[in-house]
């Protein structure tokens, strides 16, 4: 059952980031250093990079939580810095943390976030029910999140990001710390969303999942996009057998502080 109905023309730009710079106070180097990025509408785009490369900072900028020091961002014709209220209905954010209230039930969590989306009454109840069904948590609707397994929490975390039926879904490492079965379900659902037209921007450390899910991959390090392209063409370009080898070649083998 499809959660989201799409009417966005494939091929139009979903994300257009030009020369983005973001420096945190007191930091020696910028978190983003003239980053250039384009993601087409309806695309499943993966962003890979070592720790501290700038992935989460970019997610924060795209969702309007931070403002860039310089550069421009255009998300489906909306500038997050100037038109934040217009941006919020377009995007769904699935943070890296399990952003849920442990003391509430699954349904209460989704109902609250749906209300903050501006959904009320039967529309809210229907949306909550559909999102729970989408991530296979209907029978756990009245259970407190504190009792959930890690995989269930991640699925509910995803469901919370879908409540607004976003056109662009921003996911920051959404499968960290969960078992293979839960991860497989999340992959399946993300591919289903993408098949129905949702643009997905996905950051991850799991290179093989990026290869399986993403139509295009971007490699980021030190705040810059080093290279991007379909996974297979990247492997060919750098004569790497695996994405692990590709990453080590592009980003170096020294652990990041």
């Amino acid at each position: 059952m499809s959660v989201i109905n799409r009417n966005q023309a494939a091929g139009d730009g979903a994300i257009n980031a030009c020369s983005l710079v973001k420096r945190y106070p007191g930091a020696a180097d910028p978190a983003l250093d003239h980053l250039e990025l384009q993601v087409r509408a309806g695309e499943f785009y993966g962003l890979l990079g070592p720790n501290g490369a700038g992935k989460s900072t970019l997610i924060a900028l795209l969702s309007g939580l931070l403002r860039a020091d310089s550069g421009t961002i255009d998300i489906m014709g909306v500038d997050p810095a100037q038109q934040l209220p217009a941006l919020k209905p377009l995007i769904g954010l699935v943070p890296q943390e399990i952003a849920l209230y442990d003391g509430l039930t699954a349904a209460e969590n989704l109902s609250f976030f749906a209300a903050m989306q501006g959904l009320n009454g039967p529309i809210r109840r229907d949306r909550v029910a559909r999102c729970l069904h989408f991530v296979h948590l209907t029978k756990h609707a009245d259970h407190r999140v504190a009792t959930f397994s890690g995989g269930m929490k991640r699925r509910l975390n995803l469901a919370a990001g879908l409540l607004g039926e976003p056109r662009l879904l921003l996911l920051d490492e959404p499968t960290v710390g969960i078992d293979v079965q839960s991860r497989a379900l999340i992959y399946e659902k993300l591919l289903e969303l993408n098949a129905h037209g949702t643009t997905i921007f996905y950051t991850t450390h799991y290179l093989e999942e990026a290869r399986d899910l993403c139509r295009r991959l971007g490699i980021i390090d030190h705040g810059r996009l080093i290279d991007e392209g379909p996974p297979e063409s990247l492997l060919q370009r750098y004569r790497a057998a695996t994405l692990d080898e590709l990453m080590l070649r592009l980003a170096g083998s020294r652990p990041r502080d």
């Binding site: 309007g64 934040l84 995007i91 209230y101 003391g103 509430l104 209460e108 903050m116 989306q117 607004g164």
Partner: protein, 416 residues
């Protein structure tokens, strides 16, 4: 508005599932108000504001022994005649020193005869009838429990001395009257003459006093306010959890204003504050009489009490919001919050009334929000003041709220 109420309902649901939070907010102030009020009421009894038992051993069995007992009883003391097993000075001393009685008085055998002899010697010496006016002072053993506070001790000593003075005056006046008129007056008529008051004290107040000031009137509003300000900890802690768990990030990506979210927290905990105040008042009104304490009553100024409680609740919530913004961990917020509230309560007159503090502490007390709220409530409940009389204290609470929320909004992440 719908988002505001939904955010408030969310907070109440979270609190309903937090047993520790509910204990801190409701059970702790309830226990404190009962314990502290009982202790303070008992202290007042020990310092003499209530009846004190006197172990009385009359070995004299004469007029002095009888009169002294009557005088002390009329002064409000409870005379307990020493039982046969305590019919010696040493046993009375032992009973009092051991803490069974606060005070013991012994009228030694022959006291009345010695009193008659010495008072006559003094009378004759002073009225020129011959003989010298030098007298031998009659010793009456009085023992005090070492644990008796100095103020009680002084009060009891004064009452005993007053009683003995009255006995002496009565006897000497009788002699003087006989000397002057050649007649003697009936002892009862003389006593009645001496007891006839020629003055009376009238207490003038501009307005009818609302209530008698007692530990109940002090402690019920005080500990209610204390409990209300402890809501700062779950408010601050909750906000911190949202910030550290990514929930705040998620909320900032949604079309909802940070002010709406904070407003929901304030609305929810304002309801909690009102429930806390109501609970403590009900304890004062219903439970205290069952424990032998005066009942807490609100005889007037209901509107003033409501306004004060709401403003104090707002100040408490605003403080909690500030904690949630400036602290970097739940542990930090709970430690800083609890410490701040306890210090503000101590300084503000919750544990000890401000008037009982040394001058320097009275000066410091004016910076405590709990002092502002408590002063306003006491003015309304005890002094019968109306709202205009407490505008300054309410204004301080409002200003504190506005400044705290302004600071929080300035520092809150994701506010753009």
């Amino acid at each position: 508005m719908m988002k505001l109420f939904t955010a408030a309902v969310k907070e109440l649901k979270l609190l309903a599932g937090d047993r520790t939070g509910l204990l801190v907010l409701f059970v702790m102030p309830a226990i404190l108000v009962v314990v502290i009020t009982l202790v303070q009421e008992n202290i007042m009894r020990l310092t003499g504001q209530e009846l004190t038992e006197v172990l009385y051993l009359d070995l004299d069995r004469g007029p002095v022994g009888t009169s002294l007992a009557e005088q002390l009883s009329a002064a409000g003391l409870v005379i307990v005649a020493a039982p046969p097993e305590r019919a010696t000075i040493a046993s009375v001393r032992e009973a009092v020193i051991g803490g069974m009685y606060r005070v013991g008085v012994v009228v030694p055998a022959g006291t009345s005869d010695l009193f008659e002899q010495e008072s006559l010697r003094l009378f004759r010496g002073l009225t020129g009838q011959g003989g010298d006016a030098d007298t031998t002072r009659i010793a009456l053993p009085v023992f005090y429990d070492p644990a008796v506070m100095a103020s009680l001790r002084s009060g009891l000593s004064a009452r005993i001395e007053t009683a003995l003075t009255a006995i002496t005056i009565e006897r000497q006046l009788g002699r003087l009257q006989a000397l002057m008129t050649g007649k003697t007056t009936d002892g009862n008529q003389l006593a009645e003459l001496l007891d006839q008051p020629l003055f009376s004290l009238t207490e003038g107040t501009d307005a009818a006093p609302a209530q008698q000031y007692n530990p109940v009137q002090q402690n019920v509003p005080a500990w209610a306010l204390f409990g209300m300000f402890f809501t700062a900890i779950p408010i601050g802690g909750g906000l911190l959890k949202e910030r550290s768990s990514g929930i705040w990030l998620r909320l900032m990506s949604l079309p909802v204003s940070p002010l709406t979210l904070l407003g929901g927290k304030i609305l929810a905990y304002l309801v909690i504050c009102c429930c806390q105040f109501l609970l403590i008042c009900l304890i004062g009104a219903i439970l205290f009489p069952l424990l032998g304490l005066p009942a807490f009553t609100v005889s007037g100024g209901g509107a003033g009490v409501v306004v004060t409680v709401l403003l104090a609740g707002l100040a408490a919530c605003a403080f909690g919001i500030v904690l949630g913004v400036i602290c970097s961990s739940y542990e930090q917020a709970s430690t800083l919050g609890a410490t701040s509230v306890v210090v503000a309560a101590a300084v503000g007159g919750v544990m000890v009334p401000v008037y009982a503090m040394p001058p320097i502490m009275q000066s410091i007390s004016i910076i405590s929000p709990l002092n502002w709220g408590l002063t306003a409530l006491h003015d309304i409940l005890v002094r019968g003041a109306g709202l205009p009389a407490v505008w300054d204290d309410l204004g301080l609470l409002l200003a504190f709220t506005v400044m705290a929320l302004g600071l929080a909004c300035r520092l809150l992440p994701g506010r753009h």
